[in-house]
Symmetry: C2
Subunit: 392 residues, 2 copies
């Protein structure tokens, strides 16, 4: 096992009606002048934003607001948020929404405490040294940003999607009410599930041997998703299934399932170019890329894929030919994604095979030369080609 630090100081406040405690939580965590950051209409229409504001007012807290976060959040809105923080002496950012909204909030939180251009953090020209405290009220189970220190933002003028991370960006608290996710369309629910599972797989495929505890914790989250996702697609109001998925989404990405060993993250990188270029949902892009990546790298460690097949997908181990078991596991993963309504090839995603050279060119290929398998530009092109041909 590799040496590691694990630090997840976020206070998770989970369950029905917990958003009514938001004001008290902001106060407890030191906030007095709050920027409420949110996305489009659903938080407004559902009355959630009003409930949150009421709870801030009940604690006598000042607040201002900035809505309009889009999926694949843009740098432009973050610049605006930073200006508001400076103008109104904001000391706490409250993010009401999903991963895009929280990631945007993290950009604002870091940028407001930095004299230069906040994009420096995402362009890897600077590391976060200070940030405003953040709290979240989560509305989608997917990105895991509510418990992580990571943030992914798209630069509007180039459509490049880049990430940064710091323990300083971990939310002080996150309110998780599964009931808030019951109104999500099935497609968004499925995209969220793919994102959650990808966060685990990026940590599952490692070159560090003998970290059984982390393997088993990964499999715990995956098995939960395999059970609960079809239930919630069939029955969107199933609170218990929603609750399991929501907490699984947090556990999948605060790094408890990743400690003590190398991780991969190349599928995320390869996908980011898709959602950057086509503005598709990140989870949908992952559904197309992740199994394609698995097929491409499988021979690097067949037994690891066989383990996934047996332990996660319930395959029978073929002891005479483990490769067949490994392939069966990948096949079952792709069929699972298809069955919950996700695209499984480039065409279904709305992407074009002829754009592959451009997608490869946009990659920061230096980022793909570590992880489970080092990938060359030609390797990445082949993964996109596998993704173009995929079917169930």
């Amino acid at each position: 096992m590799d040496n590691f630090n694990f630090y997840s100081p976020t206070e998770f406040v989970f369950g029905r009606d917990r958003e009514n405690e938001t004001g008290a939580l902001v106060k407890k965590h030191g906030g007095s002048r709050v920027l409420i950051h949110y996305g489009g209409g659903s938080a407004v229409k559902s009355g959630l934003l009003d409930r949150v504001k009421k709870s801030l007012e009940a604690e006598g807290l000042f607040y201002t607001e900035l809505g309009g976060v889009k999926p694949n959040p843009r740098d432009t809105l973050i610049y605006e948020g930073i200006e508001i923080c400076r103008r109104d002496n904001i000391d706490f950012i409250l993010s009401v929404g999903g991963g895009s909204c929280i990631d945007s909030s993290k950009g604002i939180a870091a940028g407001a405490c930095y004299d230069g251009d906040f994009w420096d953090f995402y362009a890897k020209k600077a590391t976060v040294q200070a940030a405003l405290p953040i709290g979240t009220v989560l509305t989608i189970a997917a990105a895991g940003s509510e418990g992580s220190g990571g943030s992914v933002v798209t630069q509007e003028k180039t459509m490049l999607k880049r990430d940064t991370g710091s323990d300083l960006l971990r939310p002080r608290f996150s309110v998780l009410n599964p009931a808030l996710t019951c109104t999500l369309p099935a497609y968004q629910t499925a995209c969220g599930a793919a994102d959650i599972m990808a966060h685990v797989f990026e940590r599952y495929f490692t070159n560090t041997p003998e970290v059984e505890i982390t393997d088993r914790l990964c499999e715990a989250v995956l098995l939960t998703m395999v059970k609960e996702t079809p239930r919630v697609i069939a029955d969107p109001d199933n609170y218990e299934a929603r609750a399991n998925i929501m907490w699984a989404g947090t556990v999948a990405h605060n790094d408890i399932v990743g400690v003590g060993r190398s991780q991969d993250w190349n599928s995320h990188g390869i996908e980011h170019e898709l959602s950057g270029l086509y503005d598709c949902a990140h989870g949908a892009g992952l559904a197309v890329i992740m199994p394609a990546w698995m097929e491409f790298v499988m021979n690097h460690n067949v037994m690891r894929f066989a383990q996934m097949a047996v332990r996660v997908w319930g395959c029978q181990m073929n002891f005479e030919n483990p490769e067949l078991t490994a392939k069966e596991g990948i096949f079952r993963f792709r069929r699972f994604l298809h069955d919950i309504g996700l695209p499984i090839n480039l065409a279904e995603l709305g992407a074009k095979e002829e754009d592959i050279p451009k997608l490869v060119e946009n990659q920061n290929v230096a980022d793909r030369t570590w992880g489970f398998v080092r990938l060359s530009p030609e390797d990445i092109a082949e993964i996109y080609r596998i993704a173009a041909r995929a079917e169930v």
Copy 2:
């Protein structure tokens, strides 16, 4: 799923040689005047205490020390520690040892900030409102106190063992170096393993349905212990196995495997009277009590025990007679405990069947009327009797 809060703000610093960072960690977490609290000779003899002191000196930190913590830590030493804290204006408690040492440190931390008798917290006459910050350097994988807010202390004059808990008692940091545990005798290693598994089982046997994520996380820790414990008993210097067990011990008790549902904890309560009366190792007492408790309560939810049997112990499900599967799971657990060298009945533990009435009398029976199954004094007596008769 029940509403819950999950808050585990401890910074875990895991791996080889990490104890050399202790001074820097104390400083980072705000300490300047440190009480080093430790047990007997092993931390001194191994040179660990010297390394820790050196790291404090390197940061220019004041420290004083209080050794002599015994297994089943006593209130008497805690009174002494509280006096030292007041006399020397201590602002940080550094606990170098196992669960007993950390639990004792928590008593001191809470008592130093309280005008009354610290035992009030354990007698449930008061709740902790303030506590000195604590850091730990762990030397035994067992109690999980390095990541929990709980503490168990024995009152010397009555030999009663009582517990308290508060998020304020969660350590600010915990240094976990698995190599420090390689010198532990096999018996202590096995006792630690039983304690770790018991912490999971106390959370696994719940009356709240459909919390798949927590079930699976529980099973992840248990499966790890089933794999790694025999390896480490056979080969004490196996760093990888030690590392898996050490991290499993922390994950087992910071409550990530317990959220969202009712828990039990009656086996712990029933065991506490044994280690209180006979001063035996807590883990050894649990090895005797836990399977006996399982046999006694099994019919409350046969399918739950069958799930344990299949998912944790690899039993084949008997679909015609699930009770046989459930029984087989309990049998395999007891045989596992026996195989790693633990006692499995009262006699092997050094306890006497004729003391059962006294053991029952010492219970705070009101504490046993909740959990998976409510227990009457006669039920508790029967569990002790099952434990007296047990064999493999």
